[in-house]
């Protein structure tokens, strides 16, 4: 209530003021409108006296320019908009929160050439530099070509030994740096069917990892960690074929993908690590309730076969565990010559940009191929998660996963079930 009102005042006047306090400033001697049209004209005249230019905010220009930089296509493709970018994620798992910068241009040489370069890192000391060149001009409705080069340094790749039963107590780690440069060319043989060729170079270097763990070369015999402690150059060549009818590669809601990739690796200098690796990928998305619910299924199989008297280097063996498979287990938890992964998710719509999911992962690693296709002795994990979408892409995924080895929270900036190529 208001203070300061003097008590000795006329109660009648005060009360009447409360009822009748329509004491406006006297209007000057202007005409009271006689018609509705005059009243409207008066209102317009009042506005005339206060006209002000309608100005466009520079923020509008900046945001529109950002959107016009290929924001839409960049989200849908996962490559980001043209120009400077802030890049999140995209490095090997287990190295910490990844952030960096990038730059992309898709309109070089009159849309014939596009490139993207990024530099990213983590507080744990991992970093990545990459350059992606897209020969768009050579791309027709049926063909595409791409050259991708990357250097990545990961100071802490977890290692528990090889085998499906590798004990958790054997936890150690190694540092792994690699420089890769690959050229991919693909041809669309039929609707949704793609045949491709890939060839490239890999330089790998390993060393001891994190000081928190016993050194890997003291915990394991050399025969258990082939290739560790050496720098090795490889060439690799292969082919791939896939039948990809997903509605979006970065956040599918329907369709499926069935494919395989075959690659041969040659250890250029020593002839010790020549092997071939075959990867199979099957994904199927089953929407119901008009896409309000989705059942997502995935089966992935990686088979590695060393050539005679050669070995598959430890850092190129297929692994399970981490952000993208067997989420309830730590990164790189299981490692061996062959790996089988089976996963299922049930996703449901929360808002236009958010989905929830309940999932179960199963997988195993084995030394013999005959055991790989046998869905027994699987390690299981399960949980629930959230997926944030922007347009058709999943831009952030948070999973809460449980397994016999505990509970993990996964936070990445991409969808689950990403094919390896």
């Amino acid at each position: 209530m208001n203070a300061g009102r003097h008590a000795s005042s006329v109660g009648a006047v005060m009360l009447l003021l409360a009822i009748d306090s329509a004491a406006r400033a006297q209007e000057p001697a202007t005409n009271v409108p006689a018609t509705r049209a005059e009243a409207i004209a008066d209102a317009r005249d009042d506005k005339v006296a206060e006209l002000w230019p309608e100005r466009q905010s520079p923020l509008v220009n900046k945001v529109n320019a950002l959107v016009e930089r290929g924001f839409k296509e960049g989200l849908d493709s996962g490559r980001g908009a043209n120009g400077p970018q802030i890049v999140l994620g995209g490095m090997r798992p287990g190295q910490g929160f990844t952030a960096g910068v990038g730059y992309r241009r898709s309109d070089l040489w009159r849309e014939r050439l596009g490139y993207r370069a990024t530099a990213r890192g983590t507080l744990q000391g991992a970093y990545l530099l990459d350059f992606d060149l897209d020969f768009q001009g050579l791309r027709t409705e049926r063909t595409s070509m791409r050259w991708y080069t990357k250097f990545e340094s990961s100071p802490d790749i977890d290692f528990y030994g090889q085998g499906n039963s590798s004990p958790k107590e054997n936890h150690t780690s190694y540092a792994y740096d690699d420089l890769t440069s690959d050229f991919d060319a693909a041809f669309r043989a039929a609707r949704h069917v793609r045949l491709g060729f890939t060839g490239g170079y890999l330089h790998a270097h390993t060393a001891r990892g994190h000081d928190d763990f016993p050194p890997i070369d003291e915990s394991f015999a050399p025969k258990d960690i082939p290739g560790f402690g050496e720098s090795t150059d490889y060439t690799r060549m292969g082919a791939f074929v896939d039948f990809d009818f997903r509605d979006s590669p970065t956040g599918p809601r329907r369709g499926g993908m069935y494919g395989m990739r075959y690659r041969e690796y040659w250890d250029v200098a020593r002839g010790t690590f020549a092997f071939r690796q075959t990867e199979y990928e099957l994904q199927q998305y089953l929407p119901y309730f008009n896409g309000g619910r989705i059942v997502a299924l995935r089966a992935a199989l990686v088979l590695s076969f060393p050539k005679e008297e050669n070995a598959v280097p430890v850092y190129l063996l297929p692994t399970l565990g981490g952000n993208d498979d067997l989420r309830g287990f730590g990164g790189y938890r299981f490692r061996d010559s062959h790996a089988l992964y089976l996963g299922a998710e049930h996703r449901w719509h929360v808002t236009s940009n958010l989905e929830m999911a309940a999932f179960v992962d199963g997988g195993k690693v084995v030394p013999l191929k005959r055991d790989a296709v046998d869905p027994t002795n699987l390690n299981f994990s399960g949980g629930f998660g959230f997926r944030v979408r922007a347009r058709s892409a999943v831009v952030s995924r948070t999973d809460f996963a449980f397994s016999r080895e505990g509970f993990r929270i996964v936070w990445t900036f991409s969808d689950i079930y990403k094919p390896r190529w």
Partner: protein
């Protein structure tokens, strides 16, 4: 008569006379009502285009409240309508199919079909946008007409183009201005690149147009047979520079003198909600609109168009079919998200199970799960949020005017296959019917009022359309006081105009209130007498708990008066008022002009000029350069508090500077050149900021150095502090908010916060409200308990206060009301400062109070409940304890310690008792109604009223 009574009577008369002179309310109806068309608009000057950003609009609409909403104590009726509630023909809307049935040919033709793109020669492609959010082509045909070509997404031929054709035809028939759209089919050779054509690259950069750009665009479009493409060609206006950009769905255009009704209150925009629901245009909003500078009837004006309907019907925002939640959920709705999360996917709304035909051209569009009341656009649209039952009735009436045949005729313009046409037509018919059932129930759906001889007739649209069974109506006739907008005594019943009405002189008014089963759902028709009969000139639709929000409080008697300004401030203000008078054709004196300002405008002018006048400037040698105020030549505009505007458009002065001001600022030690204003202070990029800690003046100069925008920043502007301390908000420059006044005084002494006597300090949130906060969450009538027997002593204070107020203002049981008066309150009736006056005894005080209470009740008139008599207030101090009680909508109840209550005691010398007190504060719900505070305490186990104080509103 005692001297007191004489004095009181004289004062009463004086107050009444002043009060009458001070108020000059407009009549309800004018002689030219109802207007069918808006009066000829004022011509507009050359205007600059102003674009919007889809992404920014989406973010702002989702996370901010834009435009004005209905306050909690009532609703704001729609504007831009005539006295019958119809939208007038004008630059926003033209009454078409809903008023005068269009022929099938007219429906098919839409906005026009006389100017399709010519095909005698190939189209010259002027601009290609193959990438980005809205790909398309700009072409010119052999007539040099320009067309914007938009295509369908790959795999969905007909989806977007069909939606554009159908929706634009419906919107035209519904009355909106829409561009001419043509459905065209062409082959690749029809497009040739213009030698000077431009393309927008995938990086958003303009470059020369290549033939491959056209091919790149067409690769993303479906073709019927591998050769033929389908597109919608939108004809652009002849005057190339006439596109001014979209209009906002709130506020008004600041450069359009004819734009006087805030868009969030325009009926045709509120009603657009219903049309958008019908057509499933979930992306309706500002971005799809366009203001076009045009000339009609010799007058340059802005015409407001609706365009870009490619995301309507089954076509979605991502370019393919709609996701099924488009139209059923907002882009971000926290409540829905929580429900969906916690239900773990078990909750499955009906729309999620809708059945679609699997036709690419139809997408996700159907009618069986459509719920018009639950439909929602993807973003919050201010005009949609403000829709009232009479707005939706107006729109539903238009929708129901379309017959099945009408609908099919328009759907056919989409060029669908037969299966697609059948499905979409059936869906639109079903949706139409649901709209009628839903929105005809919100009011009494009577329409087409007419006089048949001496009988008032009307149609019940619900009955006409088979939604409701025929019903009986009661018609009560009343005299109507047009000057006071008041229904008077009943003069008859029944459809025939009663004789008493016929006796009304020409120009007089009669009203007929019509209702069926539910008296709260009624329609009032107003008739004006002419020499030889009556005209129906007005219609009013009521629904349960409809309470019109009281008008804005009047100017304050104790506002800062002009005389208190310094000479220099007065001089500068005179330059402003002179310019205002010249533009307006008015003749306000500076004093009158100053009093017409709102409190925020006054405080802005006073605060900024005070700071300027107390800022002495010196050069590097210490020589005086005068004060900052000396740099101001004249004042162009005073920007106070404006709802919905950004912080950089409020609380500042726009001034003309003396020519050497920039040099002076450069030389002065008190100002430094700051970063250029690149985002805010649009039009005034060169920033000069006062040195030193905040608060400081900021003078933002235009390029010519002769104009500036001046404000005071009370919060740090440097990042990162500036991002978190409210610098970016309007509170940053509002001197009334929080500690800003103290900060101002700290730097520029001698400042008087004239508003604080009345309003106290404004909190941060309350800076969005200029005066007292009327907002309440619920405007429904609070039911009154039964009348308690005389002498009853309610246990709770809120019950005692409610009983007193109800006895006084609703039941007019004054004696019973006076029973709660404590003898301590009599001292409030001690007269004046005349020490010879004798305090009234108890009997005398009761008699005086009785007459005052009767006067007050008469001024308010008959009130059916407390809700219609009063409204509670929000305390300024957020820490003030407020008691929650059933009548919190009607009056504020707050506990007070004796120390807090003492200033309001009638007898200041009263001894301390340590009692607990309660304050009851409310505003009378009447034009010009003031605020009354009542002080209560327990005396002898009863609640007693010990003091009352009127408070300035």
């Amino acid at each position: 008569m005692t001297s007191f009574r004489l004095t009181a009577a004289i004062i009463l008369l004086a107050i009444a006379r002043v009060a009458t002179q001070g108020t000059a309310p407009s009549p309800r109806f004018y002689p030219d009502d109802p207007l069918r068309s808006e009066p000829t608009p004022l011509p507009v000057a050359d205007l600059q285009p102003r674009a919007l950003s889809d992404l920014l609009e989406r973010v702002n609409n989702t996370f901010k409240t834009r435009g004005q909403r209905h306050p909690g104590n009532g609703v704001i009726p729609a504007g831009g309508v005539n006295s019958l509630g119809e939208v007038m023909d004008g630059d926003w809307y033209v009454n078409r199919h809903g008023t005068r049935r269009m022929t099938q040919e007219e429906l098919r033709r839409g906005a026009g079909d006389a100017n399709p793109p010519g095909t005698l020669t190939p189209w010259r492609v002027l601009v290609v946008r193959a990438y980005g959010v809205s790909p398309g082509l700009l072409i010119a045909d052999e007539k040099n007409d320009l067309y914007l070509l938009r295509l369908d997404p790959l795999g969905y031929e007909g989806l977007a183009t069909g939606a554009e054709m159908v929706t634009s035809h419906f919107l035209y028939a519904l009355g909106y201005h829409v561009p001419e759209n043509y459905l065209v089919r062409f082959e690749r050779p029809q497009l040739v690149a213009h030698p000077e054509g431009q393309a927008v690259s995938s990086a958003g950069k303009p470059r020369e147009l290549l033939v491959s750009d056209i091919d790149a665009l067409l690769r993303r479009a479906p073709s019927t047979d591998g050769r033929t493409y389908r597109a919608v060609a939108t004809r652009l206006p002849d005057a190339r520079g006439s596109l001014l950009g979209p209009f906002q769905m709130w506020g008004t255009r600041s450069d359009d003198p004819n734009d006087i009704v805030p868009h969030e209150h325009r009926r045709e925009l509120r009603g657009l909600f219903v049309f958008s629901a019908w057509l499933n245009h979930s992306e309706a909003g500002a971005i799809g609109t366009q203001d076009v500078l045009t000339a009609a009837d010799g007058v340059r004006r802005i015409r407001h168009y609706l365009g870009n309907s490619t995301r309507s019907l089954g076509s979605g925002v991502l370019g393919g079919p709609k996701d099924v939640w488009e139209g059923n959920e907002k882009f971000l709705d926290v409540g829905t998200a929580k429900r969906n999360m916690t239900s773990l996917g078990v909750r499955t709304p009906g729309w999620m199970k809708a059945k679609y035909p699997g036709l690419a051209e139809v997408g996700t569009f159907e009618g069986q799960t459509f719920d018009p009341a639950a439909w929602t656009p993807s973003q919050t649209i201010a005009a949609f949020e403000n829709r009232l039952p009479d707005d939706t009735f107006w729109a539903a009436r238009q929708v129901m005017a379309f017959t099945d045949e009408d609908i099919r005729t328009i759907v056919r313009t989409g060029g669908y296959t037969q299966a697609g046409e059948d499905w979409i037509t059936a869906a639109l018919i079903e949706r139409r019917n649901r709209i009628g059932r839903t929105f005809f129930g919100g009011v009494l759906p009577l329409d087409r009022f007419r006089l048949n001889g001496n009988t008032l007739e009307f149609d019940d649209l619900a009955v006409v359309h088979g939604i409701s069974a025929p019903r009986q109506y009661t018609i009560d006739w009343h005299r109507f006081d047009n000057a006071k907008d008041a229904l008077l005594d009943t003069i008859g019943t029944g459809p025939a105009i009663p004789p008493a009405a016929a006796a009304t002189p020409a120009g007089g008014y009669t009203a007929a209130r019509i209702y069926a089963e539910n008296v709260e759902l009624h329609v009032t028709a107003y008739l004006r007498r002419r020499a030889d009969g009556f005209d129906i000139v007005g219609l009013d639709r009521a629904w349960p708990a409809k309470v019109i929000a009281p008008p804005a409080p009047p100017r304050q008697v104790n506002q800062r008066i002009f005389a208190d300004l310094t000479g220099r401030q007065q001089e500068l203000f005179k330059t402003y008022i002179d310019s205002y008078n010249q533009a307006r054709g008015s003749k306000y004196s500076p004093e009158e002009g100053f009093n017409r300002l709102t409190v925020s405008e006054q405080s802005t002018f006073y605060g900024i000029t005070h700071a300027l006048s107390h800022t002495d400037m010196t050069d590097a040698t210490g020589a005086s350069l005068g004060t900052a105020l000396d740099r101001i030549e004249s004042v162009d505009r005073i920007a106070g508090q404006y709802a919905g505007r950004g912080g950089d458009e409020q609380f500042r002065l726009y001034v003309n500077l003396k020519p050497d001001t920039r040099d002076i600022l450069e030389k002065s030690q008190q100002f430094f050149r700051d970063h250029e204003n690149t985002v805010y202070h649009v039009g005034y990029p060169h920033s000069y900021r006062q040195a030193g800690k905040e608060p400081n003046l900021q003078m933002s100069l235009a390029d010519d150095g002769l104009k500036a925008d001046i404000d005071v920043d009370y919060r740090a502007s440097r990042s990162p502090r500036g991002l978190f301390n409210g610098h970016m908000t309007s509170a940053n420059s509002d001197i009334r908010v929080g500690e800003n006044t103290t900060l101002h005084r700290g730097r520029w002494g001698g400042f008087i916060a004239f508003w604080q006597d009345t309003f106290g300090r404004l909190g941060e949130e309350e800076a969005s409200r200029d005066l007292i906060d009327f907002d309440r969450p619920d405007a429904r009538v609070t039911p009154l308990p039964s009348d308690r027997p005389r002498g009853a002593s309610p246990e709770r204070i809120e019950d005692a206060a409610q009983e007193f107020l109800t006895d006084w203002l609703v039941r007019h049981q004054y004696q019973e009301a006076l029973d709660v008066l404590s003898p301590r309150a009599y001292a409030c009736l001690v007269v004046g400062k005349d020490s010879r006056s004798v305090p009234l005894d108890a009997g005398g005080a009761r008699r005086e109070l009785l007459s005052l209470m009767e006067y007050a009740a008469a001024k308010l008139g008959t009130r059916a409940n407390l809700t219609s008599a009063m409204v509670a207030l929000t305390p300024r101090d957020p820490k003030r304890v407020v008691v929650d009680h059933p009548f919190k909508q009607e009056f504020l109840l707050t506990p007070l310690t004796e120390a807090e209550a003492r200033p309001y005691f009638c007898d200041k010398a009263a001894t301390s008792t340590g009692a607990q007190y309660y304050g009851v504060v409310f505003q009378f719900r009447t034009a010009g109604g003031g605020v009354l505070g009542l002080l209560w305490t327990r005396e002898q186990n009863q609640w007693k009223l010990v003091s009352y104080q009127p408070l300035a509103p």
